[in-house]
Amino acid sequence: MQTLTYLFPADRPAAQPAHVGVVASGDLEILVEPLAPGAVAGGRAEVRVRTSVDGFDTIWHAVLARFFTRSGLLGRWELNDSGATPGVVLLRLAQAAAVATRTEHEA
């Protein structure tokens, strides 16, 4: 198991906490929590990844950088990974972002 931490520039606040996925072979669990209100301006998304597969730091950075460049979603992100492929990781990230930014109207 390897633990990786990252900070990514982000400006869009998460509206609510989101939890998606399961720590199951080829899948991962993602928790997103909004940051404290003061942290929004010029903020950064805090990301912690715990992965069962060691040695993929570069790929994790690339996948996460691509996601946060597009979404810019602020928050505290925790990823508990059990060997998900980059495609699965991106899908779960998008799913978590959708839940975290969902408004009452959409729900």
């Binding site: 198991m1 939890h19 399961v22 669990e29 929590e33 715990r50 069962s52 508990n80």
Partner: protein, 577 residues
């Protein structure tokens, strides 16, 4: 309620509208069974009550430890659902996930006692005890069983095994204790999984590559057809919700009518078996039928010899009841009474007709004999204020790993034994376990872990664990050396009884001179410790709650205590999490 109306196979409109239940994750399964809009998750992922034992072993934890606890209503009736996420570590029960289930059951029992009957629905998909948390997982399963039995007279506890993992290991004992058990055709229920039996007993005992055999033995259809499950429901969320609503609406069953209390049925069912000529699974259906009622069985001559090979269980039972002749209801179960305490031990019987239970394993007939003896003591003392103590002398290699055991439902037999011990404890009998040798896995769950007080000899031959070392190493994909090294820092993994004593389950670690042949001094020391334990059990709580308040638990079971505290707080606050 033996058959939930299945949709007509030709009703394509229904088939097309059907919402599958199996494909749902743990949370969605809970949601599908509760009334819409009523679900409130307790101790959810953002409470971050994850397992403290996994990350130090290099295993990624899950934020809710793989169990969803959800309060809500079922057809307007208050209910709590415990839903196991089968994809996380195969649904295996660890310290936190186990504590979540047992504390939810205890809260439901407290509400029920206070005038709001609160049903529990257990969605069981699990391989059993999580071997990475071995002894704490085993303890958690014992506590789940005890809490389930505390709730069961007050409000129904509905077990649901939908698939695909099925219910295996110690958790299946809980399935055998439920008020009602619902299964689908995709469910499997067993104590020992096929691969474990093959590993322990060889391919001739159980060929785990034989899918047909596995489903014929463990499959939901077979369990229903042999009376070990109450309803066979199609994989359809709406039909399952209807079945759960019906089961909850019936309410608690009359005392004595639960499957795990029907020793009359277990007795005749076991008597109908000739272990030398075991029936094929389909024959068993014909013999036993779907109703859990006594069957026709030939009277077999019963050997009642109390003689047998030397074992620690025999040696200690004999020493502690010196002057009294032990009696053997069956050759592998010894009973002796002295000074107002009834001692029970499971001992080797080389002539045991059940060949997988010859080395002192807890098998089908051992469970029945123990349960019958305990129930007899409880019945005889019903009117007494000073009830006799029960002392379980524990020296057992494990439960019996065998084909006939699984086919006949060893999980149900162990449930009968667990039910009897818990009933004795709640009736006011001081129940004490004395571990003098090995105490492994399902055997210890049946005989020992329901005790109010647990004593163990401080001696290298005493080994308490969820599985013996080579098997645990294989299953967790480690070498025995790696396992030993991890056990240095991960206390619940250790096979050393001194480490086990730190988990908060041990009420006395007793140094002796000779554990195989106790000396007079040994017998005096242990006898005095038992007498003290009996006094403590008599005055202490009748449930297992004090295990979490012991000095050992304060140090090592912080996670269980956090679950208890958080769940109790969130249980009453409507806005929590």
């Amino acid at each position: 309620m033996n058959e939930t109306s299945a949709p007509d196979a030709l009703d394509w409109q229904h088939v097309l509208r059907r919402r599958g239940f199996l494909e749902l994750d743990a949370r969605s399964r809970a949601q599908a069974l509760l009334d819409p809009g009523t679900m409130r998750v307790l101790c959810g992922p953002f409470d971050r009550l994850e397992s403290p034992w996994l990350a130090p072993q290099g295993i990624v934890p899950q934020a809710d430890d793989g169990v969803v606890i959800a309060r809500g209503t079922v057809d307007g009736r208050p209910a709590v659902i415990a839903s196991i996420e089968q994809r996380f570590l195969g649904g295996a029960i660890g310290e936190v996930s186990g504590a979540k289930i047992s504390e939810a059951l205890r809260m439901a029992a407290a509400d029920s006692r206070a005038g709001t009957p609160t049903a529990a629905v257990l969605l069981l998909e699990t391989g059993g005890v999580r071997l990475q948390e071995a002894n704490l997982g085993l303890a958690a399963v014992a506590e789940i069983c005890s809490a389930l039995l505390e709730l069961r007279p007050l409000a129904p506890v509905i077990g649901v095994v939908a698939g695909e993992v099925g219910s295996f290991g110690g958790v299946s004992i809980a399935a055998g204790l439920c008020t009602r058990l619902l299964v689908t055709r995709e469910a499997r229920i067993g104590l020992n999984g096929p691969a474990v039996i093959e590993q322990e007993g060889g391919v001739a005992e159980f060929d785990s590559s034989d899918r047909t055999l596995i489903w014929a033995v463990d499959g939901g259809e077979q369990r229903h057809a042999t009376g070990l499950a109450d309803a066979l429901v199609p994989d359809d969320a709406d039909l399952l919700r209807t079945a759960v609503r019906d089961a909850v609406a019936v309410g608690p069953l009359v005392k004595g009518s639960h499957r795990s209390e029907r020793l009359d049925v277990l007795r005749t069912r076991l008597a109908s078996l000739d272990p030398a000529r075991p029936p094929a699974p389909h024959q068993l259906r014909a013999w036993w039928g779907a109703a859990y009622e006594p069957v026709q069985a030939p009277t077999r001559p019963r050997a009642e010899s109390a003689q047998g090979p030397a074992s620690r269980g025999r040696a200690w039972l004999t020493a502690l009841t010196a002057g009294v002749r032990p009696w053997a209801p069956i050759p592998s179960v010894l009973r002796a009474q002295r000074d107002g305490a009834v001692y029970l031990a499971v001992v080797p019987d080389p002539d045991n007709p059940f060949h997988r239970a010859r080395r002192g394993e807890v098998g089908l007939t051992e469970c029945l004999a123990l349960a019958e003896q305990i129930r007899a003591v409880v019945a005889e003392d019903a009117g007494e204020t000073d009830k006799r103590a029960l002392v379980a002398v524990v020296d057992l290699p494990s439960q019996a790993y065998g084909l006939i055991e699984e086919m006949s439902g060893l999980h149900q037999a162990i449930a009968a034994c667990v039910d009897a011990y818990q009933a004795a404890r709640t009736a006011g009998h001081p129940v004490v376990a004395l571990v003098v040798g090995t105490a492994l896995s399902g055997g210890f769950l049946a005989h020992g872990l329901q005790a109010a007080q647990i004593l163990a000899l401080d001696e290298p031959g005493v080994e308490i664990h969820a599985m013996h070392k080579p098997a645990a190493a294989r299953i967790t994909q480690r070498t025995v050396a790696q396992l030993d090294e991890l056990a240095q820092t991960i206390t619940p993994l250790s096979y050393d009884v001194r480490d086990w004593a730190k988990l908060g389950l041990c009420d006395g670690l007793l140094a002796v001179e000779n554990a195989d042949e106790p000396t007079a001094k040994d017998t005096a020391i242990v006898g005095a410790a038992i007498a003290e334990a009996i006094v403590r059990a008599r005055t202490g709580p009748r449930d297992l709650s004090r295990r979490l308040d012991s000095p050992g638990a304060l140090a090592t079971r912080g996670a269980s205590r956090a679950v208890r505290e958080r769940l109790a707080r969130q249980w009453i606050h409507e806005q929590a999490s």
